[in-house]
Amino acid sequence: MSAMSNSNWSRRSIFRAAAGMAAAGTLAACGGNNGRGGGSGSGTNLVQFFHAYGEAGTEQAIKRYAKAYSKANVSTTWITGTNFEAKLFSSLLTKQAPDVFEFHPQLQLIKSGQVADLSDIIDPVKSDFNPADINSHTVDGKIYGVRMIDDPQFFYYRKSMLEKAKVEVPTTLDELLEAAAKLTTDKVKGIDLGNDFTPVQGNLIWSAGADTLDANNQIAYHTDAVVQGLKQLRQLFTSGHVLLDAPTDWWDPSSLNQGLCAIQWGGLWSMPAMQKALGDDLGIFPFPKVGDNGKLSVTNGGWSMFVNAKGKNVEAAKAYVKWLWIEQKKYQEDWALSYGFHVPPRSSIAAQATKLKSGLPAEAVKLFTDYGHFDNIAWDQTMITALNDVIASSVRKGGDPEAALDACDKKVDVELKKLFG
């Protein structure tokens, strides 16, 4: 019997860990790190969940904003580790669920009634938001999340290394493979696509001229060009020109900064750290074309605030989100530009973002606008996980890409049926 007890035990322990973290947050709040401000708060307690941003000062910033809020005591749970979504999802079912949390727009959250409709707080300023960010959070005319930051993801490269190896910036996947080969030396690997290659799974599809789902929410990624692209990625994976099992993963600027690789997939957030370490020896380019009808592509990720619809203080939580992420433009600007770089989703803030107006950051914003693909709300976590498996089995394990995509189709179809009937 101990097995069953233990598998339950592990679930319990995760719940308890979440509870513990919430408790830790509360304890930290007792230390004055909240908006209590000597009794000025109304006595409402709110808990917000954030994943751990890598840039220095981010955690302090989020707690500083929360402290400045006078109508509720907001405590922050800063979740480190690689599996934010699992911790978030599991705690959403418990009493220790956050009132407010950051995540990506995903339809299952809405269908399952886990997030609250935020239309009434967003509608007045709707026109100030990037239309794509409104669109990706809208279901049946209702808006379910407030975009905080947009995070374009693309390739960074060391200009000096490409010059030395006489390599042009690649525009096709073939050229990328060649470039990786030429750039590899005994000390430096040509390219870093993340330790498991999944960060570029969306780009592989978009760059092959396909899409994750089409306008009717049917599978659109299963094309010959994508299969071809997977085969090329497999070739790249086994070439010995790729940085694998590096101490830090793709979202951290260290691999490029420390000269472990010449090209690295990364996000705009890493740019200040990279510029500081490398100066002008830094360039960027979008994911290259895959196949004959390929297109350049950039992932426009990002984070949004959601309100737990099953929380105890939904109205208070909405008021907090409205205060911070709609009204407090100074904090929104600080959050987008003072630590890592992010594109502000609101045009009034973006217009004043001088840090993004020139040089490499401006180039990044251009990639974001020209080649960016925003979140598709119907492409949810289950489907993302199914696609992760395709990368694992066909690119890393060397299995047949066609078979891997077939297996993915099966899982995605089940999920589509659950979402759309």
Binding site: S5, S10, R11, F89, L93, N195, P247, L260, D389, A392
Partner: protein, 322 residues
Amino acid sequence: MSTTTTRGVAQPAPAKASPARPRRGLRSNATLNFWLFTGPFLIGLVIFVFVPIGWSIWLSFFDARYTVTPSNFVGFDNYRQILTNSNFPDSLLTFTIFAAFIVPTTWALSLGLALLVNQLRFMRAFFRSVFFLPTAVSYVAAALIWKMSLFTGVRFGLANTVLGWFGVDNIAYLSNPSPPWYWVVLVSLRLWIQSGFYMILFLAALQNIPAELYEAAEIDGAKRGWQTFWYITLPQLRATSTAVILLLLIAAYQAFDEFYNLITTKATWAQTPLMELYKAALGTNQDYGAGSAGAVILSLLICIVTLAQGKIMGFGRGEEAK
């Protein structure tokens, strides 16, 4: 995981009631004393073990997506799904193979260590502690050390540095599943953490073997070393060996922490049953029905394996089984 599996062993044997003058008030009421001492543990057991087991069985018959208080009864659908349309059966197979490898290896290594430490004339306590220490390390912390300093894929990782002396190219131990170097990482980690604990068990058992047996054997002409080991030590260790193998087997099926941190869920290989259940229930699908169904299947399997092993190796029959 390890803490829960070792719970049975770590429990001290029930102390014999002292006949010498029990304190007044506790003397007369044995029943009260029984509940007083076992109560807290029993309450914990019921709340944290039995209730979840019952709840899990109940959940496994319901459509429990995004909820742990479902209302839609679906019969055996969850069982059908977890057995046919998921990676759960594969994970069971993978881990039968893993268990078949890790159990004998750990058994042999901890027995070997115990024999060596038992032979020591001096500094025995020191070596006993040194080998036991890794038990105190959590799998997660160890996994990070293994991943970020011993087995990184870059040239300055310890393993790659050593291989580099012999002109061998850098190996990506964890990213690249072919050839499956990741087993080296996983197995070495588990051996390092587990062996010391089981060594202590063997050591205790070794010290319990009556010296007369060895003396008698010597008089009968048995040679020291292999012969006495094979005909005296090993049979005398039978009860301990059976317990150790049982615990190792259960631990192997419950493997989670180091696999989760080293292999991650973004792979299709080396996914333990618990990882598959985690993915089904907690990770992204939030399908508590299917997850519970898997948990029930896994528990039944472990029960069956344990009973079968008990039958074959005579666990629980005690000393007279010899």
